[in-house]
């Protein structure tokens, strides 16, 4: 028996949990419902019913880095994101929304949902500032907890998705 510690045993014994071991769909749905009631309005509900997302979608997300690393991503139609922005701004909503308004409002919803998902995960994690645009790709379908809902009849998805395996780094020329 060799006394040399190669670290192999520790490495092979390491277990990085996938998200479904840490959080379930009902918890994600409940976190989102609380965020909607507080931010969007007291009478605003998320129906747990899947709908077909339109072709023109926008996503907002925050990254969670810790014992589990990944992103909490909200995706909906561009019109629905604008509707959410108007609801958040209330009386302060301008007649013509700027892209910046939608990025700010939709990003903030991802921040609140993501912050609460992070709080429900074990251990200490860090949260990024929100991003808005094209959703980060799902890297591992087994490391995904997705909830599909309807807000005012329009589809919206909330995806808690792992960041591994890392995407290949594009070669530099």
């Amino acid at each position: 028996m060799s006394a040399v510690d190669t670290g192999e045993r520790r490495r092979s014994g390491e277990h990085r949990p996938v998200i479904t071991e840490l959080i379930d769909e009902a918890t994600v749905q409940s976190i989102a419902e609380d965020a909607w009631t507080a931010l969007v309005g007291e009478d605003e509900f998320l129906l747990p019913t899947p709908g077909e997302l339109p072709a023109d979608v926008v996503s907002s997300w925050v990254d969670v880095v810790g014992p589990w690393t990944g992103s909490v991503v909200l995706t909906t139609g561009r019109e629905t994101a604008a509707g959410l922005t108007r609801a958040l701004l209330g009386d302060h909503a301008p007649e013509e929304l700027e892209d910046e308004d939608v990025a700010d409002a939709f990003g903030e919803i991802a921040n609140v949902v993501g912050g609460n998902v992070k709080a429900a995960l074990p251990g200490t994690s860090a949260l990024s500032l929100p991003g808005v645009g094209e959703a980060p790709a799902v890297r591992n379908p087994a490391d995904l907890c997705r909830v599909d809902v309807l807000w005012r009849g329009e589809p919206l998805s909330i995806s808690v998705q792992g960041a591994l395996p890392a995407l290949p780094v594009p070669s530099q020329h």
Partner: protein
């Protein structure tokens, strides 16, 4: 009283200000800051009676702003309004000198619970 609301999201600043009004604190002056560095500078120039600050912000985070304030000798009452309400964050906030941490999403009742002794 003058309240400084610091958040990098303009929408969230509006929601915080709206919630303050809904909670009955509608006769206070409000000053806005768009990140921790802006808040630090406005504590000095505007001399608010209370700072309500987000945690995660570009340029300077809320906790860095609080630490900078305390190291410069400022004892301005400071509370966090943040999407991160884990026990670790609460402990870190309290040990840096924050009076409270309100987790987003919040309601006007949450605001009343933390601010009633201070503002009314």
């Amino acid at each position: 009283m003058k309240i400084l609301v610091a958040d990098d999201s303009r929408v969230m600043r509006q929601i915080v200000i709206r919630t303050l009004r809904q909670a009955g604190y509608d006769d206070h002056d409000i000053v806005e800051a768009e990140d921790g560095a802006d808040a630090l500078s406005k504590v000095s120039s505007e001399k608010p009676d209370l700072v309500l600050s987000d945690w995660n912000m570009p340029n300077m985070t809320g906790i860095e702003c609080l630490q900078a304030l305390r190291s410069s000798g400022s004892a301005v009452p400071f509370g966090f309004v943040t999407s991160e309400g884990s026990p670790e964050m609460r402990e870190k906030a309290a040990s840096a000198g924050a009076l409270f941490l309100i987790a987003k999403p919040f309601t006007e009742d949450t605001f009343k619970e933390h601010l009633d002794g201070m503002l009314s």
